[in-house]
Amino acid sequence: MREPTPEQIRDERVYRSLGLTDAEYELVVEKLGRLPNYVEAGIFGVLWSEHCSYKSSKVHLRRFPTSGPQVLQGPGENAGVVDIGDGMAVAFKMESHNHPSAVEPYQGAATGVGGILRDIFTMGARPVAFLDSLRFGPLDDGRTRYLFSEVVAGIGGYGNCVGIPTVGGEVQFSPTYRGNPLVNAMCVGILPADGIVRGTATGVGNPVFVVGARTGRDGIHGATFASAEDPEEKERSAVQVGDPFLGKLLMEACLELIASGAVVGIQDMGAAGLTSSSAEMASRAGGGLEMILDRVPVREEGMTPYEMMLSESQERMLVVLERGREHVAFAIFQRYGLEVADIGRVTDDGRLRLIWHGEVVADMPVAALVDEAPVYERPIALPSEPERVDIPASLPAREAWLAVLSHPSVADKRFVYRQYDTMVRAQTVMGPGSDAALVKVPGMDKAIAMATDGNSRYVALNPRRGGQIAVAEAVRNLATAGAKPLAITNCLNFGNPEKPEIMRQLSDAIDGMAEACKALDTPVVSGNVSLYNESRGVDIQPTPVVGAIGVIDGIAKRLQSAPTRERAAAGLDLWLLGREDDSLEGTLYGELVCGRPVGDAPYIDLAEERRLHDLLQAIAGTRAAAAAHDVTEGGVAAAVAEMMIQCGAGGEIDIPAGMSQLGWLFSEAQGRAVVAVLPEGAEDLARLAAAFAVPLRKLGRLVASEKVAVRQAGDMVVEIPLAALRDAYEHAIPMALRAGTAGASA
């Protein structure tokens, strides 16, 4: 195959197939001062893609707060880093792998996990935990069951093998994701606060290495493909296969290399492999790179420079070493049986120059590739008013309670997380099944708290408030476990940014998230944007997913999301912290009754939210508190039921007089939590709640009984065996999967 000439690229508009618009191509010609050849046009195409350049979202992302005393590294590096005290820090980031997972769910999810893993150890951090945030269509469809089963298997397949526990995450099911599932993976690592390594190619003359796996023809065009329209229509052989075994060796080798002190800069090869890693490393250093492509270890014969530069072969890194210390890398990588090749030099001329067979095959200004990539202020539609609807009370309390608990978004996710090794490394203090996961810092009485959240129903109904809630929910989970929230990462999964209404969602959601981050003192330190999530022209509901990180000093202070069986059986009082609310707007109840999201997003007040978080941390230190669980999807009814199911105790609940029964049970108003407290702790609790100005109301009690009763002013509202609630909650997902086959790829 002959590559098209520069003139052909121009005249036959070949650049369009490389992802450049006519205007963008003109800009390339202008920046270059000549016509780009095929390699150059391909490189511009991927680097200026939505995926690599954030061209549609960049102007909006600037509104996120990104600094604070706890922030050691904000956005712009491979991962963000925050200080957790005592000389230690945490690196973390979340990334999407939506489109690859829609095409080949096992490998798509697995390579997503592998990619985010490399982002973390690149920072010099030892990866200690994964979380995964997943979205699928309803399980009544064979293709969805296949996608769901395979994505979960793929996440486990990679994470379990590399020996990093998957300790949390979420799965939600909604018709909006039928044609476009979401797979977001987060990785968390620990490092000394003064040990951050960056992806910078500095020091003129320093050697540049490719390490890890050989380069093959995998996933060429993957990056442009990741932001292109419909996954169904795309070229289908671009599947990349992950090799977790190699990934594990690469991680160990890189951490050893970093510990040797010989590393100047290091960056993983994610989307657009060698192209984006080299250009970004040079750009951060404000310098240039020269690479001799003949030296890149390849897996297949006859690979062209174009293919080498655009290959997305997994498990590779680009490393700049201190000159004279090359032997360190050779010794380490050879011991692990990994490829290591010296492929070029750091220069100071600000250009990315590629040499092949003794000829310069590409020569471009780094600034044009990265810093001066186009940025779009895409048109934004006018804000729309949330619709006003009356949500009919057509589903009675008892049926609604069962329906909510058996909705796969709320129901028990054990089917998912028992396929993950949640305990490897033997530091998992609280794993899946709790509001936040806690992973111990080895050798210290300190744990990192983490959680992910993001409810797209709220964002669809009211993007700004939905954005606030996404952050508030994730962060609240940390506080509920007794941890101090520190910062967040995020993945913004949205539809087609060329539609003004989608840009409105994106812009407003970012505003809401930014407001919540400020109020909760959790700056954004890393993140990822995934646009063009649409199928057959229909966009997904806007889905910002937030990954929050906190710290708890003293693991004895942690709060479980349910009390132990023994403590519950001895009798505990249940208290509601936060606002009493009986609105059904934006609730799962509303969606169940109306068949779609209805009303406005639920209530949230960021100042109240903050006070609740502070109160929860204070409560966690007291002896009387036996458990805390925040109120989210499914409202107080779901929160209380989950606590009862977990601890195996029934109990009694009282609805305050004057409140709508359904509203009070199923409202999803934010800023609330349920706590289980020893009866003698009531006074202390009241004092603390008053001190933090958080409303407090006695909800009822847990008792050693198989019965659950809800009353209002003495009248029975619902009386139900605990076993009925448990069955609804625990069997929903396994039953939905059993209903059909999950083994079919079609």
């Binding site: 052989s237 296969v241 297949e300 079609a746």
Partner: protein, 86 residues
Amino acid sequence: MKTFDVEVRVWLKPSVFDPQGHAVEQALHTLGFDGAQNVRIGKYMHLTVTGETEAEARKSVEQMCERVLSNPVMETYAYELKETVV
């Protein structure tokens, strides 16, 4: 109705990296089997199918291969079919 014995082989398309084959090849070299090269590992399946005619059976096997036994996004398959001798 006739019964047929079917053997299906499924393997990764040539451009797709085969980590398993790669690891096994390395291991074979370490064990002194230096001549072993290009190791690729796929699936081998045996099953019986029924059909009025061989053509009908073949059609159904092909459908199975495409919909269940392989993932056409990354795999290729081949099969052999023989009438079962009872």
